[in-house]
Each structure stands twice: as C-alpha cells, then as structure tokens.
Amino acid sequence: MEQKPRSEKQAKGSEELKAGSEKQEAGNELSSCSPPPGKARTGVFVCHCGSNIAGLLDCEALAEYAAALPNVVYAKDNLYTCSASGIAQIQAAIREHGLTRVVVASCSPRTHMPLFKSACAEAGLNQYLFEMANIRDQCSWVHVQERDAARQKAMDLIRMAVAKAALLEPLEDIESSLVRKAMVLGAGVAGLSAASALADMGVEVLLVERETELGGLVRRLNRIGPSNEPAAEVLAMLLREVESASHVRLFPGTDLVGVSGVVGNYEISLKSKGGEETEETVGAIIVATGAVPFIPEGLFGFDGRKVITQIDLEERLRNGSPLEVKNIVMIQCVGARGPGRSYCSRICCLTAVKNALLIKSRDPNARVHILYRDIQMYGAENEKLLRDSRGAGVKFDIFDPAFPPVVKEGSVEFYQPLTGMTIETECDLAVLSTPLVAPEGSAATANLMRLPVDGNNFFMEAHAKLRPLDFATDGIFLAGTARFPATVREAVAQGLGAASRANTMLSKDRLVFSALVSYVTDRCDGCGLCLDVCPYHAITMEEFERDGRVFKKVRTDPILCKGCGVCEATCPKRGVLVHGFTPSQIRAQVDALLEALP
C-alpha cells in the first residue's frame, strides 16, 4: 500500500527530469557542439566470461533483452568475447549488419577496452563508436548473493551503455611529434647517472647545473658509506662517463628560467651566470635538483667550530688533517623528526655511524659516542656497518626527544633511560646530524614546471608506490634527493631509472593520445571559472577581436588535458565539454537508468 504513492512520485520526478533534459537537448543542438542522436545501428555482445558472468547471470536472456532496446539491430551472447572467435563475431556483425555502434557487456574497460576498440577499427568502424558495460567486476563478481538484483543491474548497465552509444561521435586519436632530446636538471650523482644512461640509449642530453661545478653534494663528502669508497673516486667515475659521452651537452653555472609546451615538445630557456641565453626544445625533463644539509642555527650551541654538523665533519675528514680531538659526541635527528620537520632523513644515521667508524679506525683511542632515537641502519650493508662500529668500540645511547641532550663546555649531558640516570660525558667536538632539506628556491623551480611539491618542498611523484620516478605530468621525471633523502646508491639507481622511464617515451616515433579530452564550445564567454580547477593546467585564456570588440574565451590543450571532466562540471554555461562525456551522453545514460524505476 505504501509502495504506490511513492513510486508515482518518483515517476513524476523522472518525467520532470526528462522534460527538462529535452529542453536542454534543444539548446544543445543549437550550439551544435553535439550531433543529434541520428539513427544508430547498434550491436550488443554479452560475454559469459566462462562462468565468471554466466555463473550468475543468464547471458542469453541479457542478449535477448538488449535486442529489444532502441537502436539495437543485433545482439548476441558469446562464451568469450575477447577470444579470437569472439572478436571475429564482432567484426562479422559490423559488416553483415552494417553496425554503426558496438557495445560489449563484459569485463573491465581498463583491461579489455583497447582490444575491442582496435577490433572495431579493423572492421572499419571508428574506434570511438565503441562502448562497454562492465557486468563482471561491477556486477557478477560483487553481487554473488543477490542473483535477481544482479540481473536487474546488468540490464541497467547494458541499457545505459546502449543509450550512450547512440550519441557517440567518431573521433580520431590525437598524435604529436616529439623531440628526441632530454633536459636533466641538476648534476649531482642522480643527474649525472641519468644523463649518461640517456646518452647510452642514444638520446641527446642537456645537463643543466646551477653551480659552476658538477657533482652536487657528493663533492663535499669524504667517503661513501656503507661501502666507504672515496667520494672523489665515485664522482670521478660518473663525471668521466658524462664527459666522454658524445650526446651530453653540459650547462654548468646555468639556471632554468622558463618552460612551456607539452610532453614531446617542451620549450626551455636557460640562462648562464654570464648572462648567456639558450633556447631549446626537448621531449622530456628529468628533475634531479637534490637536497642540502640543514644548518642548525641556534641548536645545541652550533658554532661551526666545536659544535659542527656532519657535513662540516666530512670536509674536515676529507682534508685528511688530524681532528685533534679525543672525545666526540654525535647527536642524531637535529632538526628532524620533530615539530616543523617531522620526517626522518634516512641518511644521517648512516653518515654518523660511518664517520664514527672512520674516526675510530684513524685513532683507536678516540672516544666516539652517538646519541640517537632510533638508529636507522636499514638493509643489509648498513646494519653490518652498525655492528662493525659497535665492535670497534663506538658507544651508543638512546635519548628521549622530550629530554634532549644538553651540549655544555667540554661535555654533553643526557638522560639515559636504561639506567634512569642523567649522564655527563666528556666532549671536545659535538657533531650534529642534521637532515637533508629541499634547497632554497626548489618551490620556484617546481613552479616553473608546474610540478607539485609536498609540505617539505620535496617534489611529489605520481604515485608513491607504483610510479616513484614519474610526475603526474607526462614527460617529466624525478630522481635523487629532490624526491626525498636517499643514499648515493639509491640516488644513482633513481637517476638510471628516470632515464629509462624517459626513454620509454622518447623512443617512440610519435606520441598518441586519447581523443577523449576537453573542447571549447561557442557558449564560452571567457568567465575563466574553469582555469583554476584544471589539475593539469590545460586551460588558458585567449582574447580575440570581432567587429571591433574584444572578446575572451578559453582554449584547452588536448595533450595536457587528461579528460578528467572537472572543467565541464565547473562551467555553468556548458562552454567547455569533454568528448565521450558530454552532457547529452551522460544524460542519455541517466535517463536510461531512471526508466527502470517503477
């Protein structure tokens, strides 16, 4: 009894909606941004996927149901639509029944859309006239317990896909040329490795370094832990490779001052310290701008003489001059893992342990004491270094950040949780282990290329786990401590990896992009609302003159655009739309869905 009035209301509601949409449809036609539905000849293929779908749903019945839908002239169920015979059936049906739209109701478009699209193209049907309904992942797999509801949902999904298919437009993939050149920004170990790897793969490289000397932070190091090779040797090897490679052009003492363009064709402007300007077009960019050690002004009595940082210590050890101190205390996490800078810098425990051991091996009588919170010697070689240092007599004590050590004249005082006592240990040199931080100006560099940075100004990769060396922006890659603190080996590996990522794209003859991107209609009046919402910065404002008056209108870049649809959802005037997701197409789907409501 209660059911009835409610369903009446709903029916009325959907009628209103329909009426409204018809009105809008008319408006749409006027604007000529979407063709009228016309008379599509649609073929529907319902896949059993073995028992994956047919185990729950009656695919034959679904095909029968589809056959009765508007515009459908052919419908068939098959065991495996993606098998060779399934594909042949689609192609035969296109030819024999003159299909102008194909709908496959099966699995996920993510895995199978490309296959079906190319099958259509082979049979002479524009690949964008294909539509898919996912009745497996979104239906038979997830509604195992509700067979009836699942059947209803499968019908809904098929009806929606058929309704949308009728409004699909033929489109062509977007193709663009590319320049087989890359710019590597930053010539630390990461940038050097990336440059030589790219050169090896036959890519012309512009290696741009802000400083007049190449090598980055490793230039200032003594030895590279945990294997403790001399830093100068490792660097010399990398430099030799870059300098001997014929495809690498070096730009020391040079800043990047401008970037425009898109993947495959980035126009870059460089400016050297001497004022020399260079303009170039490159296909890809690798960002390897590194990091710098934090300078602990005002912390633990830092004075650069008796209280120094690890990088200062590296420089003293590198000179080879005797340290002339007997009691060394190292304090970890200075400026790290606390308020303001919460991350752990990954490399400073290694640095401390390495240097402690080096001091001990130079002068076994020296006393080295490391005060730490967690000793981060992750992995195989690092942990061994830790064991070796304990064996060599380096002393370790934990401190609680709530009660940090106090550096005094000639001693350091700290609370030892193990004994519950406050201990004073002699100290003639305090060494503060400070984290790597993003270099000054890294936000500006990021801005130039419109790349995202995190709260610590480290560059942000496309996906933390699965795409650690890519940016979300196509054609720009990331390596080394510009991403996050890393050891030399890790930074080098990332440099090689980024080169490989870049080359995957650069080795193509031309770039092909999906046509499902945004386009601007006559209705755009240049209000500019969409400019800021586009996450890919694909929209720009243009001015033009007509009849002596100045008009504004936006323009979208089909290569930068990823078809996310945020602009379409933002524009109140339907001035910018996305192919494949136009209001009329989406409305057709919604209407088709609402039809089923009682």
Binding site: Y80, R110, M201, S244, Q376, G495, L496, S500
Partner: protein, 481 residues
C-alpha cells in the same frame, strides 16, 4: 597487468633457467618450461575447471589458511591468467585414477594431460635478476613458539587474515578459534551420521531411543540389532555433549582483540641473519593500522628495537599510527613467547623505560619475519657465475648500483638486498636502463681508458666477493649442522 599485454614482453611463467652461455650482448639461455598440463594459448582463465575439480588442496597463497583445487591459479589477479594442474595432487597423476573432469568441462579444449616439460632456448643481450626474497622460517626461533603455539603467526599469514578476499574474509580470528570451528564441523558430521543410524533403529522398532535404552538396561531387550542400537546410542551421547560444549565455545569466540607485533624475527640476530630486512617495521605498522581500522577497540602493541621508518612519509605514518590510531610502540627485543590455558600468547620482554621484565597477555602475536635470499639464489648464482655477497644476496657494485660482477647481468629489488616496494619499482627501471646500455654496447666502445680502469677495479672486487661467497657458503653449511 601491463606486462601481460605488452607486445614486446614474452612471458615465460612457471619456468626455470637451467643454463647460461655466452657473454654480454650475446647470452644463450636454456629455460625449462614446466608442464602445466594446460595449453596457455587456449586457456582463457575462466575457471570452470577449478569449479568442478573434485580434489581439494591446501592453498599456499593463502599460507595454508584456505583451500584450492588441484587445477588452480596461484592467485586471482595472477599473470598470465592461466590455470595449472598440480600433478602432485591431481587424481589423474597422483593415483592413476581416471578423473578427466576438467578436460571435459573446459570449453576451450585447453587441458592436456600429456603435456611435458619443454626446453626453450633464448638469445638475449642482457639479464636482469629480479628473483626477490624468501621469508625466514620462524620455527628456527624456538623461544617465539611459532608452529607450536597456535596463536603465533607470521606477518605474511596475518596479511592474508586482513585481506577482505583472504581466507577469513578480513576478520582476524585466532587460529586456535579457527581450529575450534573445524573441530565443530567434524563433530557435526559425525553427529549427523550417528543420529541417522539411530533414527533408522527408532523407525524400525517404533520406539524412542530413551525408552529403548531403559528397556535395554533393564535387560528387557537384548541381542542382535538391540546391541547395535545400544552401542550406537551410547557413543552418540558423549558426542552430543561434546558438540554442545564446542558449539558454545565457538559461539562465544571473538576476533583477536589484543595484538602484539614482534619485530626483527630472524633479522638483526647473529644466530640467523645479521642484516635488517628494511621493510618489516613499516609493514607491521601498516598491518597494525589496518587491524585497528577493522576493530577500533583492539589493543595493538609493536615491540621493536628501532622503528625504521625511513622512507618518504614513513615517519609521519608512524606518528599517525601512534597518535591517531593509538598503536603503542614498545622499545624492546622480545625475549620469549609462552601461552596460557586459553591458548593466549604471553609476551615476555624487558621494558627498557621502566627497567623491568614484564609480560603481556595477547590474543595473537605476529612475527615480522626476515627477508632472506631464496634457495634459488645460490643455484642461479652458480649457474650464471654471479657471486653472492656475504648476506647471500647477489653482490652488486656501489656504482652503478645494479651491476653484478658479471658484465651484462644486473640485479634489482630484493634479489640484491632487502627493500620495500617503491625502492624495488624504481630499481626495476634502473636495471632496464643498464640493460639497454648493455644492448646498445655503447659503453664498451666509446670508453677507452676509463672503462679499462673500471674493469680492473671490478675484477678486484669480484675477487673480494668470491671470498664473501665462500664465507656465505660456510655459513650455509654451518646452518645445516
């Protein structure tokens, strides 16, 4: 997924390398393609066969917590999406019984019981070792009781517990409780058989068993079928009682509520692996956070010496785990795990803050087991002439960091040392770059003096690492004793 579809990638799954000849730029590899008894080109991965296969086997992917069939796919999203017959369990192979069900079911005609191992020869320019790691066998640490105490599990087992598609549907049941459910099921079956028998007697003699037993006890009814009935009924009563008790217990069971994660199991321990496994601190925190999400009332402790949260956003994650998710970190190397009467693990540890030996009763203890080089590393190392380092992983240079000591052979990921997924993924690209360089042959030709030096240098290091290799061998031998 992408790998499976890539036109330039030829996937040889279920295969092993048997021999390698040649040198960088020109390797010839012999690969044994093990018989699947299923034609990869025909199988569509539909799974009809597994649905009908009558042979049930313990599932290694779900670490023995679930069942699979004798024809199976290692896991649902595996690539290639092809089924394999486990000849060790399939009725056709195992018992020689004629089953052949799957071959009749398969509409693609992919089943081929006659299939044999095949040798495939490959000509390649470079080799990348991405053979990963194996998990430490926690049974080797007697004091933690793994294998002996039912509610002590490994991190990998716990991952399967947490997975919504796992054997427990994402619920963290105590294994001892899961055992109860199994006992219950067996009892129920026995009861059913037994009560069917009894019913038969009751029907035949038109008398309830209670009445009958009275009469039987008084000697009124004896002999033949009556004896049988009496025997049946007498064994039924205790069964019923036991079933009732077990059922009560099963119904009162709750999911594991108090969890203890024990870090560095088999890592940082000179008895087993001196090394740190690099990823277990983070995966324990992750598992702890997910367990709290599933059950916000749960109490979760992580026992570790150092918490090595050294990756991007890791320390922040750790802090959120502590601050927001309420996970408690205790700095301690756990000394021992015992259990109490209700099979609850008891963790014995030194509270370094309070300077006291303490114990904590929990519902489940999870062991963060070490990342170890697999046994195949040694075999492949000998086959390829690529030395191992002192930890048993493939030895690689400092720079370039993925080059093994044999030119043209590269290693990435856990094959050359413990590391997490982001690091492994980045390295995969790096190895690809090195391999591409090797294929281009660029380095060897372009570089004169420089590369000569490098070669001499690496040869020096090879010598050193062969020494390591020998050491590792000794260590291995020592383990065996």
């Amino acid at each position: 997924m992408d790998v499976g579809r890539h036109p330039k990638i030829r996937l040889l799954a279920y295969s092993e390398v048997e021999g390698v000849e040649g040198e960088m730029g020109n390797f010839r590899i012999r690969v044994r393609k093990k018989a699947r008894y299923v034609d990869e080109n025909k199988c569509t991965g539909c799974g009809s066969c597994a649905e009908k296969c009558p042979t049930v086997v313990c599932d290694a992917y779900n670490v023995g917590l679930a069942k699979r069939k004798a024809i199976y796919k290692y896991f649902a999203q595996g690539i290639p999406s092809v089924y394999t017959i486990d000849a060790a369990h399939c009725r056709n192979f195992e018992t020689g019984k004629k089953c052949g069900l799957c071959s009749r079911i398969c509409q693609a005609g992919a089943i081929d019981y006659q299939q044999e191992d095949r040798i495939v020869e490959l000509d390649v320019g470079a080799i990348i070792l991405a053979t990963g790691y194996e998990l430490f066998d926690a049974r080797k640490v007697p004091e933690y009781g793994y294998g002996r105490l039912p509610n002590v599990v490994t991190s990998l087992e716990f991952e399967r517990f947490l997975s919504a598609s796992g054997p427990t549907g994402g619920h963290v049941y105590k294994p001892s409780d899961l055992a109860v459910s199994e006992v219950l099921a067996t009892l129920e079956k026995q009861m059913r058989t037994s009560s069917r028998e009894i019913e038969r007697f009751e029907k035949t003699f038109e008398m309830s068993s209670e009445r009958f037993i009275e009469k039987f006890n008084s000697g009124e009814l004896t002999g033949g079928h009556y004896d049988e009935w009496a025997g049946q009924y007498r064994s039924f009563l205790p069964l019923k009682e036991k079933f009732k008790r077990t059922k009560e217990r099963a119904e009162s069971l709750k999911t594991a509520h108090r969890l203890a994660f024990i870090q560095c199991v088999g890592s940082r321990d000179s008895r087993f692996n001196g090394h740190c496994s690099a990823f277990c601190c983070m995966h324990s925190i992750k598992e702890a956070v997910i367990a709290r999400e599933h059950d916000p009332e749960s109490e979760v402790h992580i026992f570790g010496m150092d918490i090595r949260a050294v990756g991007k956003n890791f320390e922040e994650y750790r802090n959120r785990a502590e601050g927001e998710a309420g996970i408690k970190f205790i700095r301690s190397r756990v000394a021992e795990v015992t259990e109490n009467d209700s099979h609850n693990p008891v963790i014995w540890y030194e509270d370094t803050k309070a300077r006291q030996v303490r114990s904590m009763e929990v519902d489940m203890a999870i062991l963060a087991v070490a990342c170890e080089p697999g046994p195949s590393a040694r075999r492949l190392s000998e086959l390829l002439g690529v030395p191992l380092n002192e930890f048993g992983f493939y030895a690689t240079l400092t720079v370039p960091p993925l080059d093994t000591f044999r030119p043209g052979v590269f290693a990435c990921g856990c094959a050359h040392g413990p590391m997490d997924i982001p690091e492994s993924v980045a390295q995969a690209s790096s190895a690809a770059a090195r391999a591409a360089s090797a294929l281009m042959g660029a380095r060897s030709k372009e570089q004169g003096a420089g590369s000569g030096e490098q070669d001499a240098e690496s040869r020096k290091q090879v010598a050193g690492s062969e020494d390591h290799g020998a050491k590792a061998k000794k260590r291995e031998a020592g383990k065996g004793e």
